[in-house]
Symmetry: C2
Subunit: 415 residues, 2 copies
Amino acid sequence: MQSTEPYKGVRDFYPEDKFYLWYILDTFAKTAQSFGYEEYDASILEPAEMYKGKTSEEIINEQAYTFVDRGGREVILRPEMTPTVARLVAGRRRELGYPLRLFSNPNCFRYEKPQRGRLREFWQFNADMFGMSGVEADAEIVALGYRCLMAFGASADMFTIQINSREVINEMLDKYAVPAENRSALLGVIDRKAKMPEGEYLEKIQKLVPSQQGSECVQSALNFLNEYENIAQHPSFTALLTLLAAQGITNVVVDPYMVRGFQYYTGFVMECVDTDPANRRALFGGGRYDQLLTLFGAEPVPTVGFAIGDVTARDFLETHNLLPKYTPATRAMICYEGVEKSARAQQLATDLRAAGMNIAVNATGKKLGDQFKSAEKLSIPFCIVVEESGFTVKNVATRESAGAATSQDCVSLLQ
Amino acid sequence: MQSTEPYKGVRDFYPEDKFYLWYILDTFAKTAQSFGYEEYDASILEPAEMYKGKTSEEIINEQAYTFVDRGGREVILRPEMTPTVARLVAGRRRELGYPLRLFSNPNCFRYEKPQRGRLREFWQFNADMFGMSGVEADAEIVALGYRCLMAFGASADMFTIQINSREVINEMLDKYAVPAENRSALLGVIDRKAKMPEGEYLEKIQKLVPSQQGSECVQSALNFLNEYENIAQHPSFTALLTLLAAQGITNVVVDPYMVRGFQYYTGFVMECVDTDPANRRALFGGGRYDQLLTLFGAEPVPTVGFAIGDVTARDFLETHNLLPKYTPATRAMICYEGVEKSARAQQLATDLRAAGMNIAVNATGKKLGDQFKSAEKLSIPFCIVVEESGFTVKNVATRESAGAATSQDCVSLLQ
């Protein structure tokens, strides 16, 4: 006998599950549209070679779903959307209008051990803007992330947006003459500061930051760290924070120790964290990646973007009790006993649908009590009983009922 | 250099393409919801063994995307949705309420030679009702298919819904004592009647319909065909056509020669064809498949359903000139020269968004003429120029413009 379980690590979406997935993705979509973003999409199937050098090696080598098709092509189920949007923009770089604002709600695939917050298939809202290089563009992407969470009814104390800047960091690394081959390791140490003792941290930094003229080795590292700790004062952050504050967005902090991993960031980077310690995973992340299109041989176009997954978003909403109650699309089920009432039931359904209502008809001929139980199981708020003459509108939850002589009376009672 | 082409046989959806895909699928969704259908979904990844014996052998052996995952599981990219919805319902058969109306807009995958109307990835609206066995359920599925096309602004003369019935055919095959092993071949001959000369057709029928007592072989075949031609008079069709006519649906004909291929149909079957000879492919197909859940070892539940693909739907809409003009979600782009206007531009954007409008801001600092050209490329209907004092609202297409002193004036001009 065939199992009714889905494939490992993916989800089935019964109507209630689909309602929540849809609620989350549609809230993102509507917020993005309010900022002028337009929806794009693509197939989940992409040529596998497209990801080489673009996505982290861990994803490609250990987590990607790749296979060879019947024609010998190496295909991948997209593990993320950024290379795809870069492909689309690079493909029509000259025909498109800028600033080009794009969003999508793709499903992505990673072969991971399923656990809380990690599944093999997840949806991920992606928003990207192409063609604006100034701090206004950075501010807009932060504001869009902020508004995406606020649109669920969140308050600003529920999350913090941490920002940093690859550009500011590089400026400092240049100043301290950190050799190119040390930079990635140095940022790795900084990223893990909280996870090691102070002494070990300092020791590791010393090995990667060269001695400055006239300074001892330890002093150079201390100078570097002292200045690094204060990068929040850098004018590029001040300009960004000022623009955001003017829009009422103040839960943004410069975090020198937040250094996002993806190699394609070139300017500001951001990560949003839940302030509730019960939910420690990052909510969204993004930043500026001005070299993205060069992967397709196109001239660089200034680009900022961010992404947030449906699973982490739902964890946030559950943590803060922000998920709405499930309501089906169906407003009422028309119930009747006796086939002679069938024509009146159908006519009532037609009338109510014409008034913009979603109406199911129960033509099973079962007892009315059984029909009411079905409506309850389906979470349908109202039943309308076709009587010998007229109708009775019943509220399924409260069991209150009211008589209705005509279709129009039913419309009024259902509103 | 990396190509910007998508994987062979699949589509990229730039905003205009996504607009049309969305328009088609959302029209189906809203129509289904008006009949009380609720949306479900599932992963595109399914255990490969689930399709064995359920989907046509051609699909499984020649067209399915199957591969082995990193854990040794055989996985398939779903080629159709029906086995999945059966799996979901079988998995929670007792908890669900009936009649259970479900719809979905999944993407499905088939490894085919790409050509007009056939792609390797397509979307397919699926609607199914579980738990109603009467002719009312059959009529509802026909009516839903009809309303799905009418919702695009189609008229009833643009398409014909052909119906037939596996049950009625079986009744006749029993009456003529056609052996079980001949039935599939006989239906195959009937299905191809139009494609062969009359003599050849009769000869093939003779070989498959046994001689009746007291009749010659040719006479038995002629008797069978004569009765078969007249199956439209069968009372089960009369009841169905009467219910549909009461709802104003009259473009439905019994076609004895329409015998849908999928093995799981057990009762009425339907297929919708475009009346325009320029578009010959079937628009939607479906019927009754009461044994569907038994594939998962569950007790049978009466089931009717149908499906229609996005590609064939779009071909229909294009043939009859029913596609709407593309309009982006964005209503206006705020334009300005000079960074000193940035704060007023942002404030205007915030005000217009609060009034429910989708507003992009052009903070590139380019010349206004270049900004207007961008808006035109993006098909954004209005530009709002931030002036030294107040604003100018420009209609991008007509080039008409009007002054506005406040945000509220802009709102009025954009409505």
